[in-house]
């Protein structure tokens, strides 16, 4: 799969259409009323397959870019710049066929690294098998359909048999990544989503707040929600639970918010890093 196969003029036209959409406020406007879909900047109805045909960029990378933009909206100008740079990065004729495989290897390696550093044991064996399949495909030796199917079956069986929530995350990653990436546009965004969940789970595990404390705070919040039913019924429009929680239990609410923000930041950092890595790999892709 080659980026902008018709050459520099085709690329200029598409890059200009994205720039126009950004300037017109069709991509992340200041009021947050438009979303940040690069795909929709190029293809009106947002169909990823049409985007792929028109740009020569694998759809899995485009869906990951849209996901990554969604986690950059705290800084709208930077998010818009990312979109402009993203579409302008592949050189015309760059061979992007193996970029999704390389991205998956990055996701798996990062997952293993996070897992080992946090939980000090070996991640799933089946994830390693799936890494091998992608590594082979990345080097031009395509595994056949039955190999992918068997790996998927093994991963599903492992997930279903797993009782530990954390380990089940790594098995879910294995089952999600067990496809040849050019036949699965959702593979990267789903894989990165699980990687981000893993980063959030590790942040929670390393936080000063324990799982038992979190569960206790959740029970307290449920009780407060039940206690304030009359206020909610009296003024449904004006009732805003977070404000009530902070006003009546400031210390607990403060700690709970800080804990949640740390997990959310870990999730966002992971998705942003994945978007940056994909950009780097597209930029380094060889010309055909």
């Amino acid at each position: 799969m080659h980026a902008f196969p018709e050459g520099a003029t085709q690329k200029d036209t598409i890059v200009a259409s994205v720039a126009r959409a950004i300037d017109a406020g069709l991509f992340l406007d200041d009021d947050h009323t438009t979303n940040g879909s690069l795909i929709k900047c190029v293809v009106d109805d947002g169909d990823v397959r049409t985007f792929e045909r028109e740009t020569g960029i694998p759809g899995s990378l485009a869906l990951l870019a849209d996901m990554s933009v969604g986690f950059r909206t705290d800084d709208l100008p930077a998010a818009r710049r990312f979109a402009g740079i993203w579409i302008a990065t592949p050189v015309p004729g760059a061979d992007l066929t193996r970029v999704p495989n390389a991205m998956i290897l990055w996701v798996i390696d990062r997952a293993e690294q996070i897992w080992r550093s946090a939980f000090h044991d070996d991640p799933s064996e089946v994830l390693r098998t799936i890494r091998e399949l992608h590594a082979r495909q990345s080097s031009g030796q395509d595994p056949d359909r039955t190999e992918w199917s068997k790996a998927r079956g093994d991963a599903l069986a492992r997930t279903d048999a797993e009782t530990d929530d954390r380990r089940s995350l790594i098995n879910r990653m294995a089952e999600t990544l067990a496809w040849p990436p050019l036949t699965s546009r959702t593979i990267l965004s789903e894989g990165v989503r699980i990687l981000a969940d893993m980063a959030g789970a590790v942040t929670a595990a390393n936080a000063p707040m324990t799982q038992e404390e979190r569960a206790g705070i959740h029970r307290t919040m449920e009780a407060l929600f039940a206690e304030t039913e009359a206020e909610r019924d009296a003024d449904p429009e004006g009732y805003f639970f977070p404000d009530i929680f902070h006003a009546r239990m400031p210390e607990i609410a403060e700690r709970f918010t800080a804990d949640l923000n740390a997990q959310n930041a870990a999730v966002a950092d992971t998705v942003v890093a994945a978007g940056d890595k994909a950009l780097e790999l597209m930029g380094a892709a060889p010309r055909a």
Partner: protein
């Protein structure tokens, strides 16, 4: 619009799920449903992975209330699998492509 997926209505639903031999997957969705939007690219992927064995059909439950009520649709996204017009499996909520493929392969 993706041409691997077709749209049904109250008027066409029964005919579209009564295909000879081919497995049919119906996605019951609504415009206001965020999880339905998240599931949409997964359905595109599944339709492309099983082009000869599976038809993927979408039904907007707001525009087609009669069918949704008749089938007892309460939570969406709801996926119902049909073979020769008969329901063979249903699942509520988001599924990964692998989970969905596993259900498809079970009924092929």
């Amino acid at each position: 619009m993706n041409n691997l997926i077709t749209h049904a209505s109250d008027a066409t639903f029964d005919a579209m799920t009564r295909t000879d031999g081919k497995l049919v997957l119906v996605d019951f969705w609504a415009d206001w449903c965020g999880p339905c939007k998240a599931l949409s690219p997964v359905l595109d992927d599944i339709a492309e992975s099983f082009p000869d064995e599976l038809s993927v059909v979408k039904l907007d439950i707001v525009a087609n209330e009669a069918t949704a009520a008749r089938l007892g649709v309460r939570g969406i996204p709801l996926l119902i699998f049909y073979r020769d017009g008969a329901e063979v499996e249903r699942s509520v909520g988001i599924l990964s492509k692998t989970r969905l493929a596993n259900i498809v392969e079970k009924h092929l």
